[in-house]
Symmetry: C2
Subunit: 429 residues, 2 copies
């Protein structure tokens, strides 16, 4: 058995707002066995010990919506209007990605995420089998869904099911089913996806109502909102649904989706950058809808930094609802931890530092000018931190980042490989 | 003579969008003498040499609006509505600050700024004499204005003039005159400040139209906009004006202020956090108004990180003007460099890496997962960076940060002193 002790540590448990001012976290294999105030007094043989002095422990962040290999497209085609950006840049580039490129892009994104405190992510991209390899290489949790889009949907569903078979016993990878959106999937596709999800108990990862254009297209085709179309296709019935964006969700939609196991994933930076609009998160939360947080892909953000995203998340709601007290720092932290764990069906295993939970823990180094005075640690993490303060990261009981250094992955080589992949794809254009 | 050579460096000159892919910057004393592609081939005796491999050089950022000692109030009173926050928390706290506290808070803020690439700042706070000492201690440029507010304005103007006398020959400190705002200064005060500014050639630093409430108060009192009140008091005549916020500036105001030497300082994060609104920056720039960028104080941000601020600056304009191409990464960089230099009357000395300019230069370390691939370096700096990539900072020809370490200031001691000041002020409450 592997034993790990983190001592001298302030712990944000995310169990209500219970903070342990100074204590320890004791981990056996991949589980948190003890979280307690004071000094660990048991024996210390065969222990790995981390001194948490000056640090704050927090559950690792769960990035609930991204397209991880799109790190390769960071800054590519910057400054073009949306449709030209997609048609002239993004889609031609993506059509030329090899399996190796996807692996290189995914691994670059994964190390970026680990270094900024993310320990799990929900992904939608081609070749999730390859992305799963990158997850295993880096020891990060991946909740992976291969996109189902357009006319090839039957083959894509089969692909999802074979991924499901391959990874159903995996401790880090879970396969989701990922219909791209109500405007890129036919009604028949949405119906079939709903059925498959029910039969295999696969959580659904989908984009809904990202732009006003999408809402108009759907209105024209169905005379319904995008949320109603998915409902009428039976997509939500008995299923767990993780819906990215939901910028244009009206009051009736809110009342309707709250009857289901439905999580909205808020992507504030991507929605701002693409000028999509502001999701009415405060109103959703007042109505009891579960809301989580995602960065979206690096090509519309342009990073995968959940601390950066939390700040924008909170500030944008305050502005939008004209209320400086809206979406507090603590509630924002919930979006990235507790609510996210609920979204992926892991609320009894992830999102808190709690006995019996999986050991996905990050240590934030408060010994930084911009994190002092430490008057309000929730506020300092959400509004003052920038994501560079993550000193140590533990995923599934394994230390993957220590003293700011990745333990098992060569950072420079990963960067180099991704940059070479970018150049090779450009040469193929 | 002190000689400094930065070699193997990519240089963002901010002269148009001229980028030197690989070259060198040669500095004598506090001036940039040569910026050139290729290898430096002169003699190297008595040189300090910095290898810029993997880095990008950029003019240091100029934070055009802050209240530097308010780092002490970071996160203090978080979550209260604006007036309760001011009345119950901020003002009672500020009333109990000693000179030592102000020094400690200022130095904490200054090291935070240096570490995130800021080399100059425009400040408005009490005891600018003390803040000037912290600037000299850290070798940062301060453009300092003691607030003129309420009934004590005559004494405060005298204070400004005695500061002016003290620092008029200083190479790092310049004294500005800082009427707080049109709603906290009488018309008579604004008139007098305008006169003094003209007589002594002091740039004016003021808050204008931060909130809707302010606009309403001024409308009630004067039946004018805040911008018109200042104009009618003669504040703008022959003066250089730096106006923070300008959230509620209408089309007539835009046409009016562009006749003057008037810079708007955009403070997007503070305006979002306090739910003040969105300044129409795109429209101002289309009309030829000079726009710079500021973080405001750390109590409403809650950091002093200009890279963080640039990202919000650009994203918020895209959202607000419903245009993904609005306020490009390059134009956003201008807000923090070239436009800011113009704001403070240093456009022929700061804001560019150019022969004859002052040597205020930062080196951004691109050897980071989140800054790769380096496809679009403007975009990567504005949208992907977080401010933690600043490896080296040179101010007025002096290296103050090298390999991420402050050379002349003990970081831990500075943090400790500020935290102790915070505790002491609380004890005095």
């Amino acid at each position: 058995m592997k034993r790990l002790l983190i001592e001298n540590i302030k712990v944000i448990t995310m169990e209500g707002d219970y903070i342990i001012p100074k204590g320890y976290i004791y981990i056996e294999d991949n589980k948190i066995v003890k979280v307690k105030e004071g000094v660990y007094e048991g024996e210390r043989d065969n222990f790995e010990v981390i001194d948490g002095k000056g640090c704050v422990a927090l559950p690792g962040f769960i990035n609930c919506h991204t397209h991880i290999p799109m790190t390769l497209l960071r800054g590519y085609g910057e400054g073009l209007p949306l449709m030209r950006w997609l048609n002239e840049k993004i889609w031609p580039f993506e059509a030329r990605l090899t399996e190796e490129d996807i692996y290189n892009g995914a691994l670059l994104g994964i190390i970026e995420m680990i270094k900024s405190g993310t320990t799990s992510f929900v992904d939608m991209y081609f070749r999730e089998d390859t992305i799963a390899k990158a997850c295993r290489r880096a020891n990060i949790r991946g909740f992976l869904g291969s996109p189902i889009i357009g006319d090839m949907w039957e083959r894509q569903i089969d692909e999802t099911l074979s991924l499901y078979d391959e990874f159903k016993e995996d401790d880090l990878i879970k396969i989701f089913i990922a219909p791209h959106s109500p405007y890129t999937c036919s009604f028949e596709t949405l119906k079939k996806v709903g059925e498959i999800a029910r039969n295999y108990k696969l959580p659904i990862h989908i984009h809904i109502a990202e732009t006003k254009d999408e809402v108009n297209i759907i209105r024209e085709k169905y005379n319904k909102t995008p949320f109603e179309v998915c409902k009428d296709a039976g997509l939500y019935d008995e299923n767990k649904v993780i819906a990215a964006h939901c910028v244009y969700l009206n009051d009736d939609d809110i009342i309707m989706v709250k009857n289901y196991d439905f999580t909205v994933v808020y992507n504030p930076q991507s929605n701002m950058k693409l000028a999509s609009g502001v999701a009415p998160i405060v109103k959703m939360m007042e109505n009891g809808i579960n809301v989580a947080l995602g960065t979206d892909g690096a090509s519309s953000n342009n990073n995968l930094n959940m601390i950066d995203e939390m700040k924008s998340a909170s500030l944008l709601q305050k502005l939008s609802f004209n209320d400086a007290t809206a979406l507090s720092a603590y509630d924002t932290l919930k979006l990235a931890t507790v609510n996210a764990a609920k979204a992926i069906g892991m609320e009894d295993k992830l999102g808190k530092i709690k006995e019996g939970f999986l050991a996905d823990i990050i240590l934030i180094d408060f010994n930084k000018p911009h994190l002092n005075p430490p008057t309000d640690i929730y506020s300092n993490i959400v509004y003052a931190a920038n994501g560079s303060e993550i000193k140590t990261v533990i995923i599934n009981g394994k230390v993957v980042l220590k003293d700011y250094k990745l333990l098992d992955i060569k950072e420079n080589e990963t960067i180099l490989n991704a940059n070479q992949s970018f150049i090779k794809v450009i040469e193929r254009l």
